[in-house]
Symmetry: C2
Amino acid sequence: MKEIERKFLVKSDDFVKESTCINRIVQGYLNSAPERTVRVRIKSNKGYITVKGKSSANGISRFEWEKEIDVHEADALLVLCEEGMIDKTRYEVMVGIHVFEVDVFEGENKGLVLAELELKSEDEEFEKPEWLGEEVTQDPRYYNSYLSQHPYATW
Amino acid sequence: MKEIERKFLVKSDDFVKESTCINRIVQGYLNSAPERTVRVRIKSNKGYITVKGKSSANGISRFEWEKEIDVHEADALLVLCEEGMIDKTRYEVMVGIHVFEVDVFEGENKGLVLAELELKSEDEEFEKPEWLGEEVTQDPRYYNSYLSQHPYATW
């Protein structure tokens, strides 16, 4: 229930041809506050409800709880969400022994591409692909919950 | 997923001897806003996450979605909740063909006793027991989410 994750900008679209799995994700927030984010997500015709807590000081670790729910129930919950939906395409890219999740945002966040990497410990080493850009793990503007309220187009 | 419910004050404790089921309930809120309430509840060693939408104008109908979750996960989610936990004992009382849920509040809401009745339609008739007091369905102060932020002791 502890999520350890690092986040990066992306320099080129070379990740696309290396990806093994592509999914559209639509998500909204029942609470976008970083202390107790409540997210409703539909991914590949499956529904999820996810609760995240406040990040650690370095931004890497965060409490996360997720439960799969019926996709029609997720649809009904999305209606209740705060204004500001996130719509993105997720590419999963295997790099060495790790999987990068590269999110290409649509709508008001169009132009933004973020790569996320889940780790088992904060100091776990990993291979950096050529298309990986600047690390933004500590920058709260790149939280999806923040982007839902302050989309990239308005930065 | 539509909850139809009427709520009443309680005039006497005669409901106690008529009750068939007694449970302690502890609950907190990941969002106490009435438009998208997100509640975490532990009842009788079971966990639940519940999302409620805005009430109808007469206060009777409201979108509700609930999912049972692991009780230890519910415990972990309670830690993330807003300050202001609700602690109450629920008595279930059969009256005619209906079940009243009578909540006796503890802690900062001590002194408050509320009876709730779930109905199949807004105009469904029901038998009123002698201990039933004034109807407060339309009064938003009696929402548990409101009580969590503005406990009865502060009224």
